[in-house]
């Protein structure tokens, strides 16, 4: 069983907690300082999307160990309104909220792997991975 940390996201304070927990967990995988910052930033963006669009949800952080290479998996999930057109929200500068429209496409650039699954009325799950070089 790989180490896992779950952070409930309900307010902007939880965004800070999630990124701090993510940084602490990723440090165990041996990421460089700049990668720790990149991971914390990506967590901040996906956690904020939960607060802004779904009001509440969860960030699940898991350490990965795949054939000797260490990494971290970040899952941000909510049961909010969902996203009708994923291709559009993945475009830089598109936002229906108060944001810059940079959170999701920016997080994809920060991470090695990025997947988003969403169903209108059901919720959204963002799964991201970063591998320590």
């Amino acid at each position: 069983m790989e180490p896992e940390v779950r952070v409930r996201i309900q307010s902007s304070t939880d965004i800070v907690i999630a990124r701090q927990q993510g940084r602490a967990l990723a440090a165990q995988a041996g990421f460089s300082n700049s990668n720790l910052t990149i991971i914390a930033t990506a967590i901040s963006e996906v956690a904020r999307n939960i607060v802004e669009y779904a009001k509440e949800g969860e960030v699940v952080l898991t350490l990965l160990n795949n054939a000797g290479s260490a990494g971290i998996k970040i899952v941000a999930l909510d049961h909010g309104p969902g996203i009708a057109d994923i291709a559009t929200v993945m475009r830089d500068g598109y936002s229906t909220g108060k944001g810059l429209g940079i959170g999701l496409p920016g997080s994809r650039r920060l991470m090695d792997e990025f997947e988003i699954a969403s169903e209108v009325g059901k919720g959204t799950t963002v799964t991201m991975k970063k591998w320590a070089v």
């Binding site: 902007s12 910052t37 990149i38 901040s44 997080s107 920060l110």
Partner: protein, 122 residues
């Protein structure tokens, strides 16, 4: 977590001590807009040395601080962006646009002094 704001001659220095929530950042923006008037400040320094993350919300709020204080007659300079934070911002696609930055508090004070002497500032 409120950000302490010090007054030094014509300048206000907001020295961020620890990680800030979105609400803390918005509070800082509002406090600075108010204090610029109360202290008749000509310049504002926001020291972000202690921040290990500048995400899209923080970046947008720092821009808002700079534009708000500018409309109130004070120039803002952001100081202390850490190297990893800068690299992460670039990858994320974030920019402070034309908000001035300086390496640290010392450089920030120098920047504001020169600005005001030139008569470009405030």
């Amino acid at each position: 977590m409120a950000v302490p704001i010090l007054k030094q001659s014509h300048f206000l220095i907001a020295s961020i001590q620890s990680a800030l929530s979105d609400q803390d950042l918005v509070q800082l923006r509002d406090d600075l807009a108010d204090l610029v008037g109360r202290h008749r400040a000509r310049g504002v320094i926001v020291d972000v040395t202690a921040l290990d993350v500048l995400d899209s919300f923080a970046t947008r709020t720092l821009r808002a601080i700079a534009y708000t204080t500018k409309l109130r007659g004070a120039e803002t300079v952001i100081v202390g962006i850490q190297p990893e934070v800068a690299m992460s911002m670039v990858q994320l696609g974030l920019t402070l646009e034309n908000v001035p930055t300086a390496l640290d508090l010392e450089e920030g004070l120098l920047f504001l002094k020169l600005r005001l002497e030139d008569g470009h500032g405030a």
